[in-house]
């Protein structure tokens, strides 16, 4: 079976000068990536942490992030990527829940922690640059990375992906998508979002160049499109939301990105309108719609988006029904089986046992996604619970409600997704305060959003706050979510 680190080592030995990773202002060759990650691993090994004790890597798109990821796994530790947009309280929760032994940073971080904090650049300086033995590397059923996702209990859940899970995933990617040909892979998703794994490892294992775009560029459209135009991207991986945003720029087309020949979309439903527009603007590109939750290693199924498919259905399918890894159970829930089913949630055996039951000797994952079959394909139809996708981010409504209700001025709260043309475009919070509004609603909202931003990342904070004397109840005495949802359809 494919060994991720051994494959990257091969590239680093044979073509050390090749560019492994690039942003608009920094780059890293394979030779540097290999050597620097050895230094990081050497430093980590001398800390005498417990084998497989998690290491949190904090920061944003930069060469040293990738160096730290590989350094951790070379030293036998799973890494936990935490993007620098993450609020400190949430980072604190992740540090505690993961029982991490070290927090590595590639950006300044000001917070008190109970564990050692070390900048990756300082680790490189103090390393003796001994090469750690390959026997120390994370292997087989050991954990390679842990990604925290929104959890309905109010606590994020750490999904543990093993070396074998990752190897199977990358092999599957190589077998089904045109990834062999030389080219640049776009890296749009921050590393705390597992969509980034879809470009990261297939690119590195294949000896290709990753081109990472930063949140700062995304927030500044001019910089973003300048960056995309110079990136020479061949393989595009992003959420459909991100592509939809790019489509708003009429100049984003094959002419601007002549090398682009493959689109890989995952993380949320790919709208037909987006597919149609992409086909027109990028006639040389093939579009793939991939499906899979973090719990089964990024993605497990796909369809190639063809003209025929787009004309035939009102919504794109997520898999052919012949796909061996996805199936529907009686109540319509999608379940996933196979070698990419992860080791479950870190430190949460009950949650794991519930979501990953063993059926007829096989461990499966119950996704909570609902689906249906039609004309030989499997389609996604919604969620069993209150999980939603907003701009590709996976959110548990209950987690947001719990965090808002925990704020001192708030007595109770419900959060309702706002729909426009069947897509969620934002969230609205309905709040009951402990005391009547003193300031203007705007000031109160600003204050509450400020408090909330210490606990929740920006994408989880509802856009609008509406104040009520009491939450409306339905005849059963429960909060009338359906009634509120009707009000929130635009």
């Amino acid at each position: 079976m494919l060994r991720i680190l051994a494959a990257i080592e091969r590239v680093a030995t044979q073509q050390p000068q090749r560019t492994a990773y690039q942003t608009h202002n920094a780059s890293l060759t394979y030779g540097e990536l290999w050597h620097l990650s050895d230094c990081v691993a050497d430093y980590m090994m001398k800390l005498n942490l417990r084998r497989q004790q998690p290491i949190v890597v904090y920061g944003h798109m930069s060469p040293l992030q990738i160096v730290a990821f590989l350094g951790a796994v070379k030293a036998g530790h799973p890494y936990v990527p935490v993007d620098s947009s993450t609020p400190t309280e949430r980072l604190q929760l992740i540090l505690e829940a993961s029982k991490a032994g070290l927090l590595c940073t590639t950006e300044p971080l000001y917070m008190l922690t109970n564990i050692p904090v070390m900048a990756v650049s300082d680790m490189l300086e103090s390393s003796s640059s001994e090469t750690p033995p390959s026997t120390a590397w994370v292997q087989n059923e050991e954990i390679h990375y842990i990604i925290y996702t929104s959890g309905s209990t109010g606590q994020p859940k750490g999904v543990q992906i093993t070396a074998n899970n990752l190897a199977h995933f990358v092999t599957w990617m190589q077998e089904h998508f045109p990834l062999q040909k030389d080219g640049v892979f776009l890296n749009q998703a921050p590393y705390s979002f597992d969509l980034s794994v879809m470009d990261l490892y297939p690119a590195l294992v294949g000896g290709h160049t990753l081109y990472a775009i930063t949140q700062q560029e995304i927030a500044n459209p001019k910089a973003l499109f300048d960056s995309l135009a110079t990136s020479n991207t061949r393989v595009w991986t992003s959420t459909p939301s991100f592509a939809k945003m790019c489509l708003m720029n009429k100049e984003w087309n094959q002419e601007l990105m002549p090398a682009l020949d493959t689109f890989l979309f995952c993380g949320e439903v790919l709208p037909l309108a987006v597919s149609n527009e992409l086909m027109q603007r990028f006639p040389q590109a093939t579009i793939f719609n991939l499906y899979g939750p973090t719990e089964t290693t990024v993605a497990v199924s796909y369809v190639e988006v063809t003209k025929e498919l787009v004309e035939r259905f009102e919504q794109l399918p997520i898999a052919p029904i012949t796909d061996p890894s996805v199936s529907l159970v009686e109540d319509g829930e999608i379940v996933i089986s196979g070698p990419t089913v992860s080791a479950g949630y870190l430190g949460a055996p009950e949650l794991t046992a519930k979501a990953f039951p063993t059926v007829a000797g096989n461990r499966i994952y119950q996704t909570g996604d609902m689906g249906y079959e039609q004309d030989g394909y499997l389609f996604f139809s919604g969620r069993k619970d209150f999980q939603v996708k907003l701009h590709g981010y996976r959110l548990e409504i209950e987690e947001i409600e719990k965090q808002i209700s925990n704020l001192p001025p708030v007595s109770s709260c419900v959060v309702i997704p706002v729909y426009k043309e069947k897509e969620i475009i934002s969230l609205s919070a309905y709040l009951v305060l402990r005391e009547p509004l003193k300031d203007s609603a705007f000031k109160t909202t600003k204050q509450l959003k400020g408090l909330l931003s210490e606990y929740l990342p920006a994408y989880m904070i509802p856009k609008t706050f509406k104040y009520m004397d009491a939450l409306p109840l339905n005849p059963n005495g429960k909060v009338d979510r359906k009634g509120l949802a009707v009000m929130e359809t635009v």
Partner: protein
């Protein structure tokens, strides 16, 4: 297009009356517009006023308040 129409559009997009009360408010700093909101803004401008603002001309520092947006649009009419 007059300033009032621009403010009305922004109230709808940002879902907040504060825009009328304080047209010098920084829409990005106050979290009233995010990256996706920016794109929606450009689409709405085109739909309502038939003014096409290329995304690459949209510089956040110059388009950050209701008054500035109204001024920029007046220039392009």
């Amino acid at each position: 297009m007059d300033k009032q129409q621009v403010l009305e559009m922004l109230v709808e997009l940002c879902e907040d009356e504060i825009i009328v009360e304080n047209p010098d408010i920084d829409l990005f700093e106050e979290g009233l517009l995010d990256s996706f909101g920016t794109i929606n803004l450009l689409v709405e401008i085109e739909n309502r006023f038939s003014i096409s603002v290329p995304i690459t001309d949209f510089n956040r520092e110059e388009w950050n308040t209701p008054n500035r947006i109204a001024g920029k649009l007046a220039e392009r009419q």
